[in-house]
Amino acid sequence: MIRLDNLTKVFDTPDGAVVAADHISMEVPRGEICVLLGPSGCGKTTTLKMINRIVRSTSGKVFLDGEDTSGLDTEALRRNIGYVIQQIGLFPNMTIEENITVVPKLLGWDKQRYKTRARELMDMIAMDAEAFLKRYPSELSGGQQQRIGVARALAADPPVMLMDEPFGAIDPINRAVIQDEFLKMQAELQKTIMFVSHDIDEAIKMGDRIAIFREGKLVQYSEPDELLSAPKNTFVESFLGEDRALKRLNLVRVRDVISDEIGTVVGNDTLTTARERIDAHGYRDAILLVDDRRRPIGVISRDTTGSHQGYCRDHMRGLPAVVNLGDDLRKVASLMFAHDTTWLPCVDDNGTLCGQITQRDMTHHLGSRYRARRSAADSEKPVGS
């Protein structure tokens, strides 16, 4: 757990004092990722760096797991905090193995233990230990280097990690891959992480919570979905962008929106039965055909039921697409657009039908929460007061 208590930094510049961070108070619960987000110069990096004293705070306190860190020796404090920076900062004079065992060595681990740990870490970041441990950073690509950077920060298994735009310098394709890998690792490791970003999409993807900064002040601190559905003021609103409702698509899963009411037919039903069910459910153009284990296999269109006679199994059309319960709405929307349809069947991991998701359900879900939050937010006080 990280708790900041009125953390403040005032820089003395030739033009007078500049308040880079103004009485920041916030708490990151154990095992969560908190993304500090804001335009450049908003104080997010300063706030992060005051935690491990790369920047000395002017006033205020930092608590890690409830312990006031102001009494701790700087080196001891830092060795207990994993630190990843945008420029990666691997030591070019050391091999990959030496780089990732730096902290264990500083902590006085014996050789056998840190050598084993290096191999564990390479497995964790999905890189081949034999191929890479003896190489030098300059021989690696940017993406590989930052994986090693993360491994180095994790080496001594610190409970807390600070990450300063860690994936900012990596090309978009690799960045998405590394973000996914990192989230997978985090699901297992459950570190308490503060993560600076200026990329709203990255924040939504990575953050369990997002803290929005502006001119040294913490403006809003909420969970991503709440942030997007109920921005506190016009600054947050404009920072999140006009398409913030679309960004929420990433956060909502099919299982949150699914309606389990869905009419189906099986292969042995006649087209007349199909027609009756289509009318009974009020479907406009088609009904889903499932097999005997309730797995979707095709659709029977309304037109077919009017113009043909016989069994459904002889008149089905192919299925446009199915979505999984765990998929996010962004994928669903994309599939709907691609196949020009307003509904899709949803299946669980076994492929069994669970229900359907319609365009109306989606817009309703996003819209209703937005309206509800908005009226609630009007009566709330701003953070920090």
Binding site: I85, Q87, I88, G89, L106
Partner: protein, 244 residues
């Protein structure tokens, strides 16, 4: 040897020329004249190398810590101006430095070593300072953020990464040093300068060359030696000569 390219043709040409030069030198009796100076060359070369070793060694021992000191953040306010002072110092001709040191240390080995030491000091200190200052700030931040103490940062990160530049400074400085040692003869410290200057005074070309050629060879030898040490000592990851 079949000739397939321009470079192999040049090599063959050079070998033939060298052979002809050898034949001519032998025929004209030049080789015998040089052999006459052989004991002098041996004795003076050793003396020459000692002067370089002592003055150069002292310079390394003083200049590297000086460069380290100047690169510390706590002295950064004065470091630039002090470096400028050292830069001005480099522009004073070595002969003048020798003359100055003779004027208060007298003649002999001591003033020569002092003069050579001063001339060698500056390039090493400057390269140490510049090398350490050019270690990337990101690297320094990573080292600090990881929990290294200032001394650990210096020894494990800054110095290894600056080592190549520091060695380049030592190489330059020793090249200057070994080329300057002949001047030390002028203030009575011996060295191969004895043959060179006496040769000039006596219009004795062979005597002069007996000093000049070994001086040149020693300079090349020392340079190669430092290059070899650089190759071996600078970690592979930051050694341009060892990158694959």
């Amino acid at each position: 040897m079949p000739i397939r390219s321009l470079s192999s043709a040049l090599k063959l040409g050079a070998a033939i020329l060298l052979f002809l030069a050898g034949v001519w030198a032998q025929a004209s009796g030049l080789v015998d004249e040089f052999r006459f100076y052989w004991p002098d060359i041996r004795y003076l070369s050793v003396q020459h190398l000692w002067l370089t070793a002592i003055s150069g060694g002292l310079a390394v021992v003083v200049a590297v810590p000086l460069g380290v000191l100047l690169s510390r953040p706590s002295v950064s306010r004065w470091a630039e101006s002090l470096m400028q002072l050292l830069n001005v110092g480099t522009t004073i001709p070595t002969l003048a430095v020798l003359a100055l040191s003779m004027s208060f240390l007298g003649i002999g080995t001591a003033p020569a070593i002092f003069g050579l030491f001063v001339a060698t000091l500056l390039p090493i200190a400057r390269n140490t300072y510049v090398g350490l200052r050019s270690v990337s700030p990101a690297l320094m931040e990573a080292a600090a953020g990881i929990g290294m103490s200032p001394l650990q940062r210096l020894l494990r990160v800054e110095l290894p990464n600056a080592l190549y530049v520091i060695f380049a400074g030592i190489r330059t400085a020793l090249a200057i040093n070994i080329g300057t040692v002949p001047l030390a003869f002028l203030i009575g410290a011996g060295g191969l300068g004895e043959l060179i200057f006496t040769g000039i005074d006596l219009y004795d070309t062979v005597m002069m060359l007996s000093g000049a050629i070994p001086t040149a060879l020693l300079a090349v030898l020392v340079d190669v030696m430092i290059a070899l040490i650089t190759f071996l000592v600078v970690p592979r990851g930051v050694n341009p000569a060892r990158q694959r």
